[in-house]
């Protein structure tokens, strides 16, 4: 692939969103006319790779190949039916007892990178992200509370004592 094609591939992978030819031209600093041939090269290169390039109305995006989509859907369905992993259970417990926990709060208590557990819990609708950028924090979803048969996390066993304990532990986050 030539440099421009690589850049387009990288942008589409990085953003996971379709991009207009105009936007790509601006990002890559090239004339719009250069985009179409590069996109054509990308279509060629990713043929028969499990990932396809979709082009429509001067907009381009990546997607899972038709032949794979059933497989991916089944995979996703299965992952949602599975028990939560130990990591996911821990992450959920922290968010339940500390509404508004951030990624770094969770990682401090768990001592392990938790980005994928958080992502999985969001995808399963068990927790929700609030805010944006660096200040994103997580709260239990309404559906989860309903599932638990409670109207507020305050009804969780020993809520007051345990959430105070978490806050106390987090005061050491800056120390260490």
């Amino acid at each position: 692939m030539n440099k421009l094609t690589c850049q387009i591939h990288a942008i589409l992978f990085f953003t996971a969103e379709p991009q207009s030819f105009d936007a790509l031209a601006k990002l890559c600093g090239v004339p719009v006319a250069d985009i179409a041939p590069a996109v054509q090269e990308l279509v060629q290169s990713l043929q028969n790779s499990g990932v396809v390039v979709l082009v429509q109305n001067n907009t381009v995006g990546l997607a899972i190949d038709e032949s794979m989509s059933e497989f991916i859907a089944a995979m996703q369905k299965e992952s949602f039916a599975k028990e939560l992993s130990k990591a996911q259970g821990e992450t959920l417990a922290i968010v339940a007892y500390m509404e508004g926990a951030t990624k770094t709060d969770i990682e401090f208590i768990r001592g392990v990178n938790s980005v994928y557990s958080i992502r999985a819990l969001v995808a399963r609708g068990l927790i929700e992200a609030k805010g944006n950028g660096r200040s994103v924090s997580y709260v239990p979803s309404i559906d989860l509370l309903r599932e638990f048969g409670i109207t507020s996390t305050a009804e969780l066993p020993e809520f007051a004592a345990q959430s105070a304990k978490i806050k106390q532990l987090l005061t050491q986050k800056d120390i260490q």
């Binding site: 990085f14 949602f80 039916a81 259970g89 768990r110 399963r124 068990l126 050491q172 120390i175």
Partner: protein, 243 residues
């Protein structure tokens, strides 16, 4: 400075005994060997006395100091025979220094390269959120999961400042040394006097010599007075000088 900042700084700038020793050897443009290690022994002991250290730090430094004194004793008394575990403690220290030297150079390179050129991750494809609870997780199962995590969080003692800054003064360090040397001297002298046929006399002799060197160090600094009552083989009496 806030309390937490102080702790942070203390924490990050804490140099271990191996690092301190390596710096001393490198500062003199020496290679790591018995001669250079014997030469920096005094500096190292001085360092322990002058730096404010927590008790566990002092412990780690004293372990290295003990090996250094052994190396110095060997360089002063070439015929001195060392017990196998003493030889091992010396080669061990030399190996640790060699390893640390390599690692600290790599560390500099790694810190330069870290985060400068990241291979970025892609984002996951957006997918509709489907509420998919795990029937095993109920409102009562989260609590034990949470509390089991608490034990993993390293907790700084409740009064971090008091603990971190509880330094051992020079007098305290020397008092400890003095105490140990006095005890060591007594026991070792007893061993020699009794001439226990089953005892490991080689080790004892070395221990006596090392203690003796340590004692001389304290005498030289005027911290203790040594007195031998009469005759060559009588007990040496140590008295602590009052400031």
């Amino acid at each position: 400075m806030t309390t937490s900042e102080q702790f942070h700084i203390q924490h990050e700038t804490f140099q271990g005994p191996i690092e301190v020793l390596l710096e001393m050897v490198e500062k003199r443009k020496f290679f790591v060997n018995d001669i250079s290690l014997a030469a920096v022994t005094d500096d190292f002991i001085l360092y322990i006395q002058q730096k404010g250290m927590t008790p566990d730090m002092v412990g780690q430094f004293l372990a290295v100091a003990a090996t250094l004194i052994l190396i110095k004793a060997r360089s002063l008394l070439p015929n001195l025979e060392l017990a196998p575990e003493e030889v091992e403690s010396i080669t061990d220290l030399e190996r640790r220094l060699a390893l640390f030297e390599i690692i600290s150079h790599i560390q500099i390179d790694l810190s330069k390269q870290y985060g400068k050129k990241i291979l970025f991750e892609g984002r996951p494809m957006s997918r509709p959120i489907v509420f998919s609870p795990d029937p095993h997780i109920t409102k009562d199962t989260l609590l034990p999961i949470l509390t089991s995590l608490f034990s993993n969080v390293p907790v700084v003692s409740k009064a971090p400042v008091a603990r971190v800054y509880k330094t051992i003064s020079i007098t305290e360090v020397l008092a400890t040394l003095e105490d140990r040397i006095t005890k060591a001297l007594k026991t070792s002298f007893n061993d020699i006097v009794v001439r226990d046929p089953d005892g490991d006399t080689k080790t004892q002799k070395v221990y006596t010599i090392v203690s003796f060197l340590g004692m001389l160090e304290l005498v030289r600094r005027g911290m203790v007075s040594a007195e031998q009552e009469s005759g060559v083989f009588t007990d040496i009496m140590l008295t602590k000088n009052h400031e």
